[in-house]
Symmetry: C2
Subunit: 253 residues, 2 copies
């Protein structure tokens, strides 16, 4: 995600979508995503990169409404910190028994996409990327923030090209979910990228210290055994595994 | 996780394990986990709950050393906020081209466990729990913080009983990974719980506003389609799916 794109519009988008009782405003702020509800298959051409991407709409599911919760009550809210990525809030909640509870949470200014780039020969395109909270490099799938109004599949195509130089002719959303629902308001989309060609142009940001490598699926799974291992790698491999074998009902114990 | 247990020892444990160049100190602070390397099968009895749990050691893999990274350089560190759950840091990093970069990250004071409770008839025990960052209730697997020095499987058994009243005779670690490696230092363990009996005692904390229900795996998967959906549900189902069908190599594109 570009710094210049994380504007106050982005913050408002996330805040409205999840927290404020004005779902109609949230819809108005996300015209691209809302427009993607149509179930027809269309061609979409990115204006930022040279890739032509086949997107089967609807792409990745997005929250469409906020359900008001009456319990617990929000008594007050303090913004403890704010940067271009997230806002740290201290909410004082009133519990049913009269107690007050300080709930600390991050209001993220962007959702994220993780791309699973599957080459025609079955190998995967992975990154070895520096992760500062651990002071180590980890193997991951390409990932990044979704810009305001950007479709998750388009964001996946963009991040894939910017970080690896690969373009994709087929993109498909495998899973979407709220990343850490007790701590953080952020939705993550796992996107399968196929029809890959190494004909794109990389554009790494300052902190994207990474190397790209192609590994077999077996080699990638082997990387998930030894810590530290990124959830981006593990969740992507799990979703790919289910996708390739089909979501047939598994047996019981 | 109990508030009283998130002491400075816990903070030191997490910090040392991932960030400081003293791996031997990290080992000394985690005697329980280090001791679990022995590959023998042992019986372990929790001192906090009434469950007897068969733990096949080693249980969940844990990071054992910190690898020093020389790039980028940590120029300075500010603690912007601190609570009983996490610390917010602003690290000034020196990049190779001479630029300075402000890296905001959370240093979590605990790792987490997500329990996948699989009943003998193939159904799953789920929770419908209030998640304040979204102002909504979500379907999830039981989950919670791992106390200082606590084995992830023991933490899973404890959280399962405290939140649902079920005890388990078999616990097994399916996947372990760093949750949000670019934002947060926190390891998550996905633990499969079998041999379930509804003979335990629940002990809910203030903000654990939840209801427990048993659903088929198909019903649980259906809950992952409509947002918002918790990663705790989605990741648990993906890991269970792979486990039940076996990790046989999947075919390519």
């Amino acid at each position: 995600m570009r710094d210049s794109k994380t504007t106050s519009t982005s913050a408002a988008r996330v805040g409205v979508r999840y927290c404020l009782p004005t779902p109609s405003t949230a819809l108005a702020l996300r015209p691209t995503v809302i427009a993607s509800i149509s179930p027809s298959t269309t061609w979409w051409r990115s204006t930022k990169i040279s890739t032509t991407v086949l997107i089967k709409r609807p792409s990745c599911p997005s929250p469409k409404k906020a359900v008001a919760m009456t319990n617990p009550a929000l008594l007050s809210r303090s913004q403890l910190h704010d940067n271009r990525f997230f806002e740290l809030r201290d909410d004082t909640l009133g519990l049913a028994d009269g107690k007050e509870y300080h709930y600390y949470s991050l209001n993220s200014k962007f959702d994220v996409v993780v791309v699973i780039p599957l080459l025609d020969d079955g190998r995967l395109v992975l990154e070895h990327i520096y992760r500062h909270p651990y002071g180590q490099r980890m193997w991951e799938f390409p990932a990044g923030g979704i810009e305001p109004g950007e479709d998750p599949l388009a964001a996946g195509a963009r991040e894939l090209e910017e970080e690896t130089g690969y373009t994709a002719s087929k993109l498909r959303c495998l899973q979407s979910f709220e990343v850490m629902p007790g701590l953080l308001s952020m939705r993550m989309h796992l996107v399968l990228a196929q029809g890959l060609r190494a004909d794109g142009t990389t554009a790494l940001e300052d902190m994207e210290l990474l190397e790209v490598q192609s590994l077999s699926q077996e080699q990638a799974w082997a990387l998930t055994i030894q810590p530290p291992v990124s959830s981006f790698l593990t969740m992507g491999l799990l979703a790919l595994d289910r996708h390739l074998r089909g979501p047939a009902a598994a047996s019981g114990a």
